[in-house]
Subunit: 599 residues, 2 copies
């Protein structure tokens, strides 16, 4: 068997920073080459970062990316860099780009592979920008070894089943079957003895196991190693885990870069002898083999524990959202409850405790426990902490609302006190939102919101109140998942982070005397699975009723919950983005109409 | 020439209301049949309403739509109904539907045409849900006349030029050319002597002229009449104008239904003799010809004046957003300025003045003129009016912010008073937002926001302040366009609606003493074209510099403005939806990353 030393560049790119990304790419190239790499593989759309969204509709953006690629190519020597870039087809029409992988060496772009399979589901909109490539080539020449180049979905080879797609992942059942449209098949037939795959693959729970299953199946079926490179870091509602890896020709994972870390690594990959092995590359350039450079077996970072994986995803997403948008510090409203405690703890891990400002804003209904629990959390985390009671504003606004001119009309439903009660509860929440935003304006802190996925689903929140802020850190984590994450974090050996009292007390919004969540909502043990079935599973209310019987939920309860999810769409539409960790998050992943009569 | 009486059903469908839409469809069918129609043509995805977005990913939704279609089919007699419906392909994969037009008569679905050309640009995401059809048939049989059926984009026949696509429309240059992929060509070759086209075509300025140009070109090139049916009414950020029409075989528009009105109409269409004219339909059913039913030359509603068209679009969108979401009344914060005056006037036209509640919320900085102008506007419109001064809350919150605990740290930039000034300005705006939302909670009023497209572009707004509300009525109207619309409305013969003073005074946010917009922003005569070039034209900052020289803008100004547009993305992401009237609105039409380093 021959051996090829592959460089994997797992970079935290800055979206749209074409010049900065080019610098990063050239530095990674140099580092990998210094480590003896014979080829350096980057992630999908490296030059722009992924996903560039509608920046791709700006001709100047695409042109500037092409210039940046030329600059990168001029930097290359004998070792090929495989760099992702949008490429103008020169065609007219609204969709006029290729999603390409450029093969650059000795100062020039020498060849381009164009992505065949363009995902247009879940968070992906690639058919809005790209037309499919149709060529399986050009192959990459690494000494005497030829390699097939492909981009992301190309390795999977749809069509996937509807279930797998709904799950944004899962193992396609078609690998090697008749419906397998992966260009990898043609590449191996053309003599490729290695596959390199450039990815912009966002994180969700358990995604890495699915990726590796696909690559291992591919590798074993075709008898060739697979090199899989992914970007790392947060980009709005997506977070990329990297987790770049290499399988051998038998489908064993022989190298895995750590998740959520930037890393440039080299790895020797054993390549099976093939019929084309004796053919020299036609371009006449030379390659230095790994001989004389020692061996590079490649790192094999362990897979993360499922809870650690989620925690790290939230930490990475928060850090990048804050820093990439030019902020250093954040403010978090601390209620003493589990959600705001979790967000503060994540922020402290992401930014360092001195950059996190906890604000307790007690009202006339806040319990003493809430105040002390919030203070204890801040002490545990070592973050800044301040208390601003909201009573003066609460009294002033309630008074303004009771002036004759404001209260001319009877409430919408005069027989029901709920309108007045709702008004007063929302008022408190909105005063807190106003205060946090005022602190944000004054001190330049970015505000993090604290709503979990369960609340976000059923709309148990106040628009412009607790939803006010720039980044919704746990928007995709259901309530019970928040508890699990906090318990996990407390076990990490650096002492109690989230106070026991926050974990043990019954959840409450504390917007009226003795309020508890379970007065308005079913218990979370019941609610979380209902919400998951309806939101992530795309079941109908009737189907959820069927599924919920097992959990002891009755039909009326299910219909009430699914209705709450439907009518909360207007709140979600005005809520800040937050990192996706599930198979279906809110945002680009779930595009529901607000005006919607379907029940 | 033979003549065919065609029924056009221009309906205001309720998205997702499968049962209600079925009722509406059957009633329209009956009405058209009573008028002698030999075929009744509906709009695209009639059963569900357009666009159903991710409801299409719920299998139960698609299945329920199929059941609703069966019910409609059972209702049909000898006259064919052509009804739009999503259809399950039975394929696996994330994208597994057809966008179909079902031909129903005598109780059953007798044939299905499947849309070929699936727009996936601008506000359209059809490739997220649908796979393309490939058959040009089946043809529709109307007595001895055969007709081709197609859906929306099928009539246009892409590829369009990039410019036309950026403009969401424009006349494709390929009609009849080599690149023309419209199924209409094959249909005429198969013997069709009439084309019917089902549309879900959202309004934008001047769209109807483009539609008619396409249909006229098609008709004249193929020598067959075209029947174009579109839905009407508002759906979140889209508004559909209807404007269904018929051309004769020479490409003359012979029938046009009024824009923004529900209407069922019949129209006799002269059909040219064709070689298949003598062939009877094979299914053996019969059709009543127009003979004995008199003549139905069809209405020919005039095209609207450009300003009236926009006003009606905003009125229709607002009415439907409010009513379809279960509200009757709205609240509008009235500043005495032009934007809030325009929104109140639109709301009064949409909902009736008694359903509009104007709220003046003067601060310590509000001029006397603002209060009296707002009161005058309310009197002119005949709407409810109340005044709630914000001073108590302003004083309370400013005091809270100055407590030692809240103000521990120096401002972000202590050398600059702008942080404190900005904080205080935003505070006032957010107090108004809180007050409007409190009135909304108490009285069940939906809050309309008043930001125009210019402000929305450059972020001249306070998040959770003046952006707080459910619907942003003039979000897609630039500042100068708001003036034009108000002047137009004042000329409509029912007296002064918007007081002269609102139109004449210099724009001001009145958040500090003697503030005027032009202290923070360039004059709107300069700003509006810059914003249009950058946002709607997708030019780069450098290209806008070039274009702006003509307007007297210098490079620094352009870069400042384009930078403002870029960094305001986070505000737009949390702002309410509003009706699209331009070739590129904010929302689904422009999907920009928040974290974005491209300059």
């Amino acid at each position: 068997m021959a051996s090829v030393r592959v460089g994997l560049a797992q970079l935290n790119l800055r979206l749209g920073d074409l010049g900065g990304n080019a610098e990063m790419i050239m530095a990674a190239y140099d580092e990998a080459v210094a480590g003896g790499a014979q080829v350096v593989v980057f992630s999908e759309l490296t030059v722009t970062g992924y996903p560039p969204e509608d920046l791709l509709l700006k001709p100047a953006f695409v042109y500037s990316a092409a210039l940046a690629l030329e600059r990168i190519a001029r930097h290359t020597g004998d070792v090929t860099a495989v760099v992702g870039v949008p490429e103008d087809t020169g065609q007219t029409g609204p969709v006029r780009l290729w999603n390409s992988a450029a093969l650059c060496w000795n100062g020039k772009v020498r060849g381009v592979f164009r992505k065949h399979l363009l995902p247009n589901y879940a968070v992906f909109d690639e058919q809005r920008y790209f037309v499919p490539g149709t060529d399986a080539g050009p192959l990459l020449h690494i000494g005497n070894v030829r390699a097939g180049v492909s981009v992301c979905e190309d390795l999977w080879g749809p069509p996937r089943t509807a279930d797998a797609a709904a799950d944004d992942g899962g193992l396609p059942s078609v690998i090697g079957g008749e419906a397998d449209t992966s260009p990898a098949l043609a590449q191996v037939a053309m003599g490729a003895r290695l596959l390199v795959n450039l990815n912009g693959s966002p994180y969700r729970r358990g995604k890495q196991a699915d990726r590796e299953a696909v690559a291992r199946t591919r590798a074993a079926a075709l008898g060739v190693p697979v090199v899989y490179v992914n970007q790392v870091g947060g980009q709005d509602e997506l977070v990329f885990d990297g987790s770049s890896f290499v399988t051998d020709a038998g489908g064993n994972v022989v190298c895995r870069l750590p998740a959520f870390c930037e890393q440039v690594a080299v790895c020797d990959v054993a390549v099976p002898a093939g019929e084309h092995a004796a053919q020299a590359r036609s371009d006449g350039s030379t390659r230095v083999g790994p001989e004389g450079n020692g061996t590079a077996p490649g790192v094999l970072a362990p897979m993360l524990d499922p809870l650690e994986e989620i925690w790290q995803a939230l930490v990475a997403a928060t850090r990048d959202y804050v820093h990439k948008n030019g902020f250093t510090d954040v403010a978090v409203g601390l209620s003493g409850g589990i959600d705001s405690s979790a967000v503060a703890a994540i922020a402290a891990d992401a930014l360092g405790p001195t950059h996190v400002h906890g604000v307790s804003m007690p009202s006339r209904y806040s319990s003493e426990g809430s105040r002390t629990d919030a203070a204890q959390l801040a002490a545990n985390l070592g973050i800044d902490f301040r208390t601003v009671p909201i009573e003066p504003a609460h009294a002033a606004l309630a008074g303004m609302l009771d002036t004759p001119d404001a209260s001319t009309d009877p409430p919408a439903d005069a027989a029901d006190i709920s309108a007045a009660d709702l008004t007063d509860q929302n008022l408190q929440s909105r005063i807190r939102g106003v205060m946090l935003m005022a602190l944000s304006n004054r001190y330049g802190w970015l505000v993090l919101t604290t709503g979990n996925k369960t609340e976000t689903s059923v709309g148990y929140s106040t628009l412009y109140g607790d939803t006010a802020g720039a980044y919704a850190v746990i928007r995709d984590v259901p309530k019970l998942g928040v508890y699990e994450l906090c318990e996990w974090r407390n076990r990490q050996g650096d002492g109690e982070r989230i106070p026991r009292a926050c974990l043990d007390k019954p959840p409450s919004a504390e917007l009226r005397p003795d309020q508890r969540d379970d007065q308005s909502l079913p218990p979370y043990e019941l609610l979380d699975p209902l919400v998951e079935a309806y939101v992530e599973g795309d079941l109908s209310a009737a189907e959820v009723v069927e599924a919920a019987r097992r959990h002891g939920a009755d039909a009326d309860l299910v219909r009430r919950v699914t209705r709450l999810v439907d009518i909360a769409e207007y709140k979600r539409r005005q809520s800040p983005p937050g990192p996706r960790i599930s198979a279906k998050s809110f945002g680009k992943d779930r595009r529901m109409p607000i005006t919607n009569f379907f029940r």
